[in-house]
Amino acid sequence: MSPGEHVDESDLHGFVDGELDAENRRRIEDHLHNHAEDAALVEGWRRQNAALRAAFAQTVKEPLPSGLRTASVTSLTRSFGSGVNWARFSPSKGASLRAMRRSDTSRRPPRRPAIVMSLVTLLAGAVVAGAALLAFTGPASPPAAPQRVVIEPPGLLAHAQLAYQTYAQDMRPVEIGADHKAELSTWLGERVGFARLPDLSAAGLELVGGRLVPGVLAPAGLLIYRSAASGPAALYFERAGGERPPAAPPKTAPGLAAVEWRAAGFAFVLIGPLAAEVARAASESAAAQAIR
């Protein structure tokens, strides 16, 4: 290529975008030296590039919402079941939680020792559970698809459970009943950002209604479902993101099963006194409907 050869606009773009080899780069540099107008074009495009990068520079620095962090994990295993977190309380630790709840409900003043004691027991339980988790996942996992054990922050499950315990058994469990679905959906859509009301009838759960509840970081939604076979169940959801990495494996109160997952940028918890397979079916159904 001779130095005097014609330079067209695509060469200038190629120059800005690093598409040219060394020889052509030199050719364009020479050209720009003698053609101020083209040099101004190139300079303008570079400024555009810089403005674009600056406008979105913050995005890459933001912590990834955990919904996206787990997405790459759950997706490898396809079914939601494997990305889902099973938390079932073992009997040995049930006592300490019961104790905590007792100390919570009876409003006697000297509560601190009880709380400290139950925290200590919880911590011990967490260590045992952690060790068990390691023991189980260590040698057993290799044959399966790559799958990281996703341990959720305790805050979310604790919130969902508290919301469940507060409202599900209450005289007035929901603010808006299932007979006003449109209104309920709009309300939760506006406040929580998630407007869908998953139909879990396939798992034997019938929607009673829902309400707004305080979440870990933002307003959360709580949908209550009635079950013919057991007590009521609840689907809790809150916009995912920003939670700290969990300190301990999740746990639920005795008799309660909880399934936790993330989809569409939201964290979901299905909680209730459900049999394992019912909870699993219901959460898979809800998860599928959440991303449709």
Binding site: S10, H13, W45, L52, A54, V60, S72
Partner: protein, 166 residues
């Protein structure tokens, strides 16, 4: 097993950039939708990679961005156009004025640093078409630079003072 682990880590490493691209593609106007698209793309790419024979994935990054681009295109076809809010920088407003294909091409080159060849593969077209789109996008932005629309102008003026605190 080891390879699969690498693959998963690759996806994780690419996610922040993919997220930036998704947001830019939606002109910073629908970050929730952007994250949803990112998740869809991650899922699709992971699924495809799992079904393909090992080693069939030539370039995960191209596949990932292609998957996101097509998901975005599908979604934007059925949805009302997203307009950036006035507090967004002027460049977002100018991006929003571009046709989807030109915006996609400009962002892939300028923001994500893909080669023209890769952009053509992502956009399912050839290099000359990709280059043409890039040239049109840049000249449209330059023209808008000279004659900014009122919205872009207001955005520019309020830009430095207002900041979305998250």
């Amino acid at each position: 097993m080891g390879q699969a682990e690498d693959f998963e880590e690759t996806l994780e490493r690419l996610t922040p950039g993919l997220r930036r691209y998704a947001r830019a593609l939606l002109c910073g106007a629908a970050n929730d939708l952007a994250d949803e698209l990112v998740q869809t793309a991650l899922q699709t790419t992971a699924d495809e990679a799992r079904h393909d024979a090992p080693g069939a994935v030539l370039d995960i990054r191209v596949d990932l961005y292609a998957s996101l681009t097509h998901a975005a295109q599908r979604r934007l076809r059925s949805a009302a156009p997203h307009r950036p809010s006035l507090r967004q920088p002027a460049i977002m407003h100018r991006l929003a004025d571009l046709p989807f294909e030109e915006r996609e091409t400009l962002l892939l080159v300028a923001l994500e640093g893909f080669t023209y060849e890769e952009v053509a593969r992502i956009a399912r077209t050839d290099r000359p078409v990709a280059l043409m789109r890039l040239m049109r996008a840049r000249s449209a932005l330059t023209a808008l630079d000279r004659h900014p629309s009122p919205g872009a102008d207001a955005g520019r003026r309020s830009g430095p003072h207002l900041r979305v605190v998250k």
